[in-house]
């Protein structure tokens, strides 16, 4: 089980900045808590400022075929947007980021674990529900699950021929992140301030 929670309002607003956003809400898994009301309010404000090219509320964007189907009618709105703002768990954001490789795809939510049964999630992308979604700093590739050491401050010295030191069949996650950031022209993100993992988040949430 997991719950998603909105990132701070200022964070979300700054992700959009003075650009235009296309918004995707995912309300697929019934066992996932989704901050429906708060999300709707915030999106209304963004729309009132003329910053939104389109909004869809859909389900199971983590399924690539389903995502494709749902977005079909909205391609021109997506085209017109600079940013795709995704309100979903970490898996959903990663799926959208992969689909729109050259667009800035942002996570508007943090994903936390809840003790108990974990819902069905697809295997291709993985979210560890770290409670402090890093996807906005890493071009939509999850550093927690794509890097063997879950590093959040960049590549270790162990990558050889682009492969991870732990498994020569696995691409180095930070090599992928670096290439993606280069592709979307956001290498500046790799210089962000030192990140510290916060392992207290799940306890705080279940308080």
């Amino acid at each position: 089980m997991l719950i998603t929670d909105l990132k701070a309002k200022e964070t979300i607003v700054s992700l959009v900045g003075d650009k235009k956003a296309f918004i995707i809400n995912c309300q697929g898994c019934k066992e996932v808590h989704f901050p429906e009301k708060e999300a709707a309010e915030l999106q209304k404000e963004l729309a009132a400022d003329g910053k939104v090219t389109g909004i869809i509320t859909t389900d199971y964007i983590c399924n690539t075929e389903n995502l494709e189907l749902r977005l079909q009618k909205h391609m021109s709105e997506i085209e017109a947007a600079d940013v795709i703002l995704v309100f979903s768990c970490g898996v959903g954001v990663q799926t959208v980021a992969e689909r729109f490789e050259d667009k800035k795809v942002c996570a508007a939510c943090d994903t936390y674990p809840l003790p108990g049964f974990q819902g069905v999630t697809p295997l291709e992308y993985d979210c560890d529900q770290c409670g402090e979604c890093y996807l906005n700093l890493t071009g939509g590739i999850c550093p927690i699950t794509a890097c063997s050491k879950s590093l959040v401050n960049g590549q270790c010295g162990g990558s050889k021929n682009g492969k991870c030191e732990v498994d020569s069949n696995m691409e180095c996650g930070w090599e992928r992140i670096y290439r993606r950031l280069e592709q979307i022209g956001r290498l500046d993100l790799i210089k962000c301030p030192t990140q510290l993992r916060n392992f207290a988040t799940d306890a705080e949430v279940s308080k």
Binding site: S148, K149, S150, L151, V152, N153, G154, Q155, C156, G157, G158, S159, K160, N161, G162, E165, V166, C172, W174, E175, Y178, L187, I190, K191, P193, T194, Q195, L196, R197, F199
Partner: protein, 293 residues
């Protein structure tokens, strides 16, 4: 003494590395260090290198210090969470150990305890940040230290011949931003690549020590080429080792190659760091041939 003082004096700083044994008898190691390494600026002590369990780095640093050598305490993030790391930093300060080399560390799966839990609560960058915090008198939990805060020379590593050199430079920049004072590099066998790297790295304004591993044999070179990240030994160099088996076995060829690499790179860096890997006895002749003795 802090190694940064030597850089500030404009010295070409020489350091070497020793690996603690798998056991607690270090008389032999201390003897070797005293005999062959007493002339150099400082001696690194590895921290369960390659994820192989050994005698602790901190205790070995203390033993070296008691023998009059200047130790560099290597710390990785693989085996300890932030509480244990910060605590060991205070212990180091209490022993008067002033030099650190802060690393992420190899994954546990690469070593002799592949079943162990890899920690990585911090990484090289956030560990530098943690030291910086302690130096300002607060820990990572935001709590104040009692008494005067510790002061260290904070080192880190970078891999100049890595096939992901841009990602490495980006990481280096983050380390500098976090408060790193100096760098030691992965072993270099391609001086041109190192020089190109230094052209880009010099913008950070931090001293860089060229990393050297003396090539011992053809087999060792082949192994490193296949398995060690950031290392590529050119074929011509391997041919040199092949040419005269006796000379190679005696270490003469390896020392010649290493001395040549140092001479070529010297104008572009601020020091050299020798990872002798059991060949500590060759360090004096290497330094002599490189024109550093």
């Amino acid at each position: 003494m802090k190694i940064t003082e030597a850089f500030e004096r404009g010295e070409f700083v020489v350091t070497a590395e020793v690996g603690p044994p798998k056991g607690f008898h270090i008389e032999h190691m201390l003897e070797e260090a005293k005999t062959y390494l007493s002339g150099i600026t400082a001696v690194n002590v590895t921290d369960n290198q390659s994820s192989v369990m050994r005698l602790g780095s901190l205790a070995t640093c203390k033993a070296l210090k008691d023998e009059g050598l200047t130790p560099i305490f290597q710390m990785t993030c693989r085996d300890r969470n932030r509480i244990a790391l910060e605590s060991d930093l205070l212990s180091a300060a209490m022993f008067g150990i002033e030099n650190l080399l802060l690393l992420t560390g190899d994954h546990t799966k690469l070593g002799d305890h592949p079943q162990a839990k890899p920690v990585f609560d911090l990484d090289s960058v956030s560990l530098i940040h943690a030291v910086k915090q302690l130096e300002a008198g607060v820990d990572l939990g935001g709590n104040e230290l009692v008494g005067e805060p510790p002061k260290f020379a904070k080192g880190a590593v970078v891999s100049p011949c890595s096939d992901s050199v841009d990602a490495q430079l980006a990481k280096m920049e983050r380390k500098v931003a976090a408060g790193c004072d100096y760098f030691q590099t992965q072993a270099v066998y391609e001086p041109e690549k190192f020089i190109q790297f230094m052209e880009k790295a010099k913008q950070f304004g931090k001293p860089v020590q060229l990393g050297i591993v003396i090539p011992k044999s053809v087999g060792m070179c082949r192994y490193m080429n296949a398995n060690v990240a950031g290392i590529h030994i050119p074929e011509e160099m391997i041919d040199e080792l092949k040419a005269d088996k006796e000379k190679t076995k005696a270490g003469i060829t390896g020392v010649e190659i290493a001395a040549r690499i140092i001479r070529e790179c010297k104008p572009y860096c601020q020091g050299v760091h020798i990872m002798a890997m059991g060949w500590e006895s060759k360090v004096p002749s290497l330094l002599e041939q490189a024109g550093l003795a």
